[in-house]
Symmetry: C2
Subunit: 934 residues, 2 copies
């Protein structure tokens, strides 16, 4: 049975225009109602149709008495009108002398509402529709023509078969689904009739007449031009398409009446137009709960490879499945990247990545005496990122250096330096061991552990990372005030008192030529020849030169730098707040939707450009983004390849297994939890996930980077979230008033690859990049942190603390879980986070990812405090152990009846509770059997 | 006939709690529905009740078959239950053996929903109500007690007469109108009944039982616990109160059904809760148009003195009426000022006033060689403002110096200087003439001209003033960058190269001792004795000293001031945007309504304090607010009193009549148009206006200020609007879900008086005020300008240009006037404004208020371009001339029928079109007879 096509409904009313009668379009429905404003000559906002019960009853009466012609073979309007009148004559509804009049009125021309000024419709709207649903082959072309058409006044006879160019140009067409069919409603008041003349016509097949012919066309004359339009209703249109006789129609109206929702008149003013709801549950879904199949689909299980359950574990089974799941998408992973949005995403993520690369490069350089510096950071990011995006299971993940790795490197370097072990070689061996350990984890499908990461763990982790981002951004900004101290005691009038002079060193105290020479050697001043100190004109030297040559600075302005700190602040805060405002601009009323979307997509780019421009305009020497320009290791005494043997004793090669274990856990947790966040159900990813494949490549890259002496990389939560956010798709053509739906993410490898290729190429982009002030990038950082917080339910729940309950948003879990339980749950999270934050600030940061395991333990303990019902709403239910499950299977049959009731509840619940992190196939099972296990 | 009291309705359903049956509160209605959330144990957001048609029909059936007891004399619950059962037994609805069971169930205890955790209700809710509406004297006390009560589990017998302390404490009480009565709905499902048991009880008078007794209490048992609640509906409650028998009730439901609004199920998901509408037109108003009387009231005509029409003009009639209208408010004008909001208003306006006083004082000082300086400006503002606020017709108006006056003074001073005429004496005579001319205008009721100022003129003027405010604020801010130039070439490394030295003048070029002495005399350095130039240590001198003594400044840093410009910008922008955000905070979800309102009310004060604090923290030498500290004229050679004779030839006294005429027109227009804006209908002022009285006092103050040599004052549009905005009142206790209504403005004289007294006292507040940086005040200025724009329809229409029509707000005029006509109208306004803005920037600014007359002419011409219908919607209709009106009166009788139709339309229209500036009595007539005059 074919589905009922979407109906486009148009209501025309009979009006006197000068001496002529004509049918004027007054309302239309695709999904919601749009009226022609009385005096405004324009379409109203789409709104939910409201109608009075009275008119519904009247319609019912009309259908009972009027002519009903179903599956009429209609080919032209006059013919159809003839048939209607014939029918009515037979039934005695009208007298023979009214025949002429009715026919005349029915064939009057139609005038349609366009955005342009009034014109007359020549060929009245080619509207069509077929009910019995055979032969709908050429319907598409027809329906594409139906709403517009109205240029010059022509005679009624002009009923063409081809759509006019005017019809084809009508922009409204885009809003109508392609397989739509049309229905016309004509309502008019005439004086030659003494009782209503009603006809309901359904054509046998969709026909385009150029004139007006329509499917279920309840053409009705009557003294009451009451508004009525059940045909627009999805429910009724189904009936109208399938009705076999008049009684079916009446029954349809009765069914409609039964489902109707009633607003009491006292509380509601009929003048108010109800905004279309954000999301309407289709009638069929409202009735039944979702099928399990659909649930599986929603849980991110893409078609292929879904069958394997945990019980049938094989060696490398997870990896095999991941590859099997990914293979079908090989090509689409690339061509789906060609979209304007990708450009904005690439620019945004690129800027995030190089900022990160520079920051971590600088820090690593400090920590390792430049064994790994900015240069290595750039190359490593480019290499690891490109490889990962090319081959990984989830190419939306962005690799980056992360805090724990940095701390590990720092400790490792200090250890090797104090113990006389070669750092680079030790690091290489740790990398190799770690890589192998990753392979073991992959082979044993260890990634299935992520099933135990519920929303609680996941949100705890991502909130923490977001907080770190935000606090880092602010700290860096605050740093400006330290690097560029402001002379707050400055008085404009005493400008004469501020100076900074370079004084020659007192010869008696001079550290002699040796020290001076050393100073000059290590100097970054590229002077060709050593300088004779005594020849120097000390007052002409710059601050650095002065200090290099041993001079001392004296004066009140020496330690102050004017303007730069404040300017940095303006750039920082400006970039952040402009980005936020532009992002919000999507929801404003101004400009067409497309333009707003463009502005919103490019908000970060536009903010950066604006503030880079402002900075250039001011011309102040704010700190700029400096990328290395020459392709050579930061430290001159190391090459591009690290040799595995020779420098360290043999036992080091074996012993490095132990620190490698720490690194592996660190990487495993960091990587997988970020992947869980990326693969969240809310993101509606269609291409499935690949935890095992991801881990495999991270392992490979560990080894490769170790050989090349580049930093290690792992999934970066915040940037990955930003990546996904910048690639979100929304439905474009929707019925007027319908909210654009979030369709999913543009899943492809192209943006990621481009970002990292660009990062690699950045070395040659230095002339352009040097215009970007660092504070602007910190602003981008701040935005990233704040934006990634905003999607987190934990954060929503935090806000609840400050809201009186009557103002709280209508979250699903608030309807089902007592507020104080929600608050308690949030409080536990807050405490966990506080503990983590404190630990993170100490040297314990290195075991930070392991602490996530602690979070999972806390979550397990919560099972004792909260009921499974509550947890199902505010978190997810933990899977029960394998064996328990099996024994339960046996119980199940006994509890048959009871269970079924429960399960229905559960499914319904699962539909609403967004249980994140349930991507991999075995997890799907959970939602079928494991919920409410106690 | 007494009005029907508001009903508080509570629905309890029968539930099993452990072994016991109990009635649990599940929903309540005051105006909108609040449900108890299923699992959430809390009240849902108030929403519009939706119910299925089906349940409505079922209710109807129930009422037909159930027991109906109207005007029952009930004094206790058991008695009432007995009576119900007796009745049902008689009618055969139940069998005798069910009697016990029913009575048992009905008397189960009630559990109510509180914010606290579950407690048992002892005395089940004392709910009461009286129908026949005699003896409702002690009802207030009763109803105040009804919703709460639920502490410890007690026996059912506990039916006290006094409200428990718990009941009294319930905060919800505040939400219920004082004369409310209660109704209880009990719904339950029991197994001992085979058909529904329904009873509808209305007590003869409102009774408080402590237990449960209620007015129209359809107590119903039945197997279908469908949700139903027509009693909550205003419409039906009327019926329920007045019904004489069962048939009346049924008829009531039928009537309700007839008015019901139906939502088609396909477009609306019943799970969505509909937000309460912003404003519901009460049913009675919806049916009929407003009466003319009401219209008159709404147009600002306060009870007293409304009878006098234009035809009966008498000498000083307007002034007489104004005084008559103001007299009854003498006391309330003071005591109504005692409110927390007044403090915020006073602080806000005070800061605006002193900023204005300082700005204009400075400019006047420049323009008149300090004949009028900052000191005069402060004293004048204080004097004029206090007097005006004490005695004027509209004390909400704030007087201030304005631009046109400033320009006039400047031209006058230049004229008198170049012609050897004494400026102060000439100015005094102009003031005297102008004062007399004002009296003439008052006596001849010239203020009636404001009838011709429609929205077009008024909005043109106030937009222009707002633009001037905004542009002034930005200009002043930009000035900071000029006064404190930033050294953009500064390189931190070359700090050694920046200095500024004071060099001794070259003796050969020295301007000799004479010039030096002159420089020292006019110097503001308060050195006790002249200095010997040759003794000076030039390098120790400050910038000013150096220049004073003829030295020259040399160095790269001399002309630059670090940090101050950027800091000023941060202060300026921060104050503005913080104020805007805090104002918006009122609409956020956080914190209780009262706190949010407080924050919003004090937003300006809090922003100022924050940024003053920031400024103090930074310690930078930003420009501060400096008020004069000593009470003496700015120019030492003038006294506090200007003598009228002696200095100028006699003809000057007469000739000054001509410039006085210009000043009078200038003052008249400026004053009256600001007054029109203040008296706008939208502001819902209740105490009426006083255009004539206002002008009288402005005239008096002109003369007084001229004698004292103080600047002239006239109404300041933007500050007056800010004054009104800060005094707006909203209804506090409203039914849950109901939007707080704008009630009007706190009309009183106290805030104004305080503002100006404070202004006068500011001279002694200098130690506190000196901490306020000027950029913060410019931020406040910017906010004032932007805020006063936001209330203007013209501005709304400007925004329409940028909105695609589907996103445009649902303005009433957009429903009735074609969009391109609206756009055309807006365009005309934009062009007019552009012309005015250009003229304003030239010397023509002096005739600026006269240009408003030009606007009125343009508006008159628009009558030819736009239809009266369109103008009525987007502007107001101009009054026609007296004589025309009379001749039309004769025509009217002929066109009788036609006219009446028109008029009804017109009234309806007048109700919605906000026609501002129609305050004075004669104007009311317009809306009755003059609309659509052509």
């Amino acid at each position: 049975e074919l589905p009922t096509p979407t109906l486009f409904t148009e209501m025309d009313t009979l009006q006197q225009d000068g001496d002529e009668l004509e049918w004027k379009e007054t309302a239309r429905w695709v999904k919601f109602e749009e009226k022609v404003e009385e005096g405004g000559e324009r379409w109203s906002k789409p709104h939910v149709s409201t109608l009075s019960l009275h008119s519904l009853f009247e319609l019912r009466t009309c259908l009972q008495t009027g002519a009903v012609l179903l599956d009429l073979e209609g080919y032209s309007l006059p013919q159809i009108v003839d048939e209607i009148i014939e029918k009515q004559l037979q039934e005695g509804g009208i007298t023979a002398d009214q025949r002429e009049n009715i026919s005349f009125v029915l064939l009057r021309k139609h005038r349609h509402q366009t955005k342009r000024t009034k014109h007359r419709s020549p060929a009245d709207v080619g509207k069509t529709g077929g009910a019995a649903s055979e032969e709908r082959t050429h319907t598409h072309a027809h329906t594409r023509t139906h709403t517009r058409a109205r240029t010059h006044t022509q005679s009624m006879n002009d009923i063409g078969d081809t759509p006019s160019s005017d019809q084809l140009k009508n922009k409204f067409m885009k809003k109508i689904p392609r397989d739509a069919e049309a229905s016309n409603v004509l309502v008019g008041e005439v004086d030659f009739l003494d009782k209503p003349f009603v006809a309901f016509v359904r054509l046998a097949q969709a026909t385009t007449l150029g004139g007006l012919t329509e499917v279920p066309v309840p053409t009705r004359w009557g003294p009451q031009p009451a508004s009525y339009h059940p045909v627009s209703c999805h429910l009724f249109s189904d009936v109208a398409y399938k009705a076999r006789d008049r009684d079916d129609l009446i029954a349809g109206i009765d069914e409609f009446l039964d489902e109707v929702i009633v607003l009491p008149p006292g509380e509601w003013d009929p003048k108010i137009r109800i905004e279309p709801p954000k999301k309407v549950t289709p009638a069929d879904k409202r009735k039944s709960v979702l099928s399990l199949n659909e649930l599986g689909q929603m849980n991110g299980k893409a078609g292929a490879g879904g069958g394997l359950s945990e019980d049938e574990e094989i060696f490398c089974g997870g990896l095999y499945l991941d590859i099997k799941r990914k293979l079908p998408w090989v090509f689409s992973d690339f061509y789906e990247g060609f979209h304007l949005q990708s450009i904005s995403a690439v620019l945004f993520i690129y800027l995030g990545c190089i900022t990160n690369a520079i920051t971590f490069g600088g820090l690593l350089g400090d920590a390792t005496d430049n064994y790994q510096g900015v240069m290595e950071s750039f190359l490593g990011t480019a290499l690891a990122g490109t490889v990962f995006c090319l081959f990984s299971g989830q190419p939306l993940i962005i690799l980056s250096s992360t805090g724990p790795i940095l701390i590990f490197e720092k400790l490792l370097y200090e250890f090797s330096k104090s113990n006389g072990i070669d750092y680079m070689e030790l690091r290489l061996w740790i990398g190799i061991h770690s890589c192998l350990q990753c392979f073991v984890l992959v082979a044993t499908d260890a990634s299935y552990i992520i099933r135990y990461m519920t929303r609680f763990t996941e949100e705890g982790f991502s909130s923490l990372i977001s907080f770190i981002f935000i606090s880092d951004a602010i700290k860096k900004m605050a740093g400006s005030f330290k690097y560029y101290p402001i002379n707050t005691a400055f008085r404009p009038d005493y400008v004469t008192a501020y100076k900074c002079e370079c004084l020659a060193p007192d010869p008696s105290e001079s550290p002699s030529g040796v020290a001076l020479c050393a100073a000059m050697t290590s100097s970054w001043l590229t002077r060709s020849s050593p300088v004779n100190v005594t020849d120097l004109d000390w007052s002409q030297l710059s601050k650095k030169e002065c200090l290099t040559y041993g001079g001392s600075l004296q004066g009140t302005s020496c330690k102050f730098v004017p303007d730069l700190a404040l300017m940095s602040f303006i750039l920082f805060f400006g970039t952040y707040s402009m980005t936020v405002s532009l992002k919000k601009f999507k929801f404003s009323r101004y400009f067409p939707t497309k333009l707003r979307k463009l502005i919103s997509d490019f908000s970060i780019f536009m903010s950066i450009m604006t503030f880079v421009g402002l900075d250039m305009l001011m011309g102040l020497k704010t700190p700029k983004l400096i990328v290395p320009t020459e392709l050579r290791p930061t430290r001159p005494d190391r090459g591009w390849l690290v040799m595995p043997f020779a420098k360290n004793p043999w036992w080091v090669y074996v012993a490095s297994f132990v620190p490698a274990l720490l690194v592996t856990i660190l990487i495993f947790m960091d990587q997988q939890i970020s992947a869980v966040i990326v693969n969240r159900k809310e993101n509606k990813l269609k291409k499935g996930c690949g935890y095992h494949l991801d881990l495999f490549w991270v392992g490979v890259l560990m080894a490769v980077c170790s050989f090349l002496g580049l930093p290690w990389y792992v999934a970066a939560t915040v940037i990955s979230i930003a990546h996904i956010d910048s690639l979100k798709m929304e439905s474009e053509s929707s019925a007027p008033g319908e909210q654009p739906q979030f369709l999913g993410v543009r899943e492809q490898r192209l943006t990621g690859i481009l970002v990292f290729v660009l990062t690699g190429v950045s070395i040659f982009l230095a002339p352009i990049l040097q215009y970007i002030p660092m504070p602007v990038l910190y602003g981008v950082f701040l935005y990233m942190g704040v934006a990634s917080l905003s999607g987190i339910q934990f954060w929503d729940r935090m806000k609840l603390y400050m809201m009186p309950s009557k103002h709280q948003p209508d979250f699903a879990y608030l309807r089902h879980v007592p507020l104080r339980r929600v608050h308690l749950f949030t409080l536990v999270q807050v405490i966990c986070l506080a503990v983590l934050w404190t630990l993170k600030s100490t040297f314990l940061a290195i075991i930070f990812p392991i602490m996530i395991l602690g979070l999972m333990v806390v979550r397990k303990l919560l099972d004792m405090v909260f009921s499974q019902h509550d947890l199902a709403w505010i978190d997810d239910v933990l899977p029960v152990k394998e064996k328990k499950k099996k024994s339960k299977d046996e119980d199940k049959k006994k509890k048959g009846k009871e269970k079924r009731k429960d399960k229905k509840k559960t499914d319904d619940l699962d539909d609403e509770v967004r249980n994140a992190g349930v991507c991999c196939p075995p997890l799907v099972i959970r939602s079928m059997t494991w919920i409410i296990p106690v």
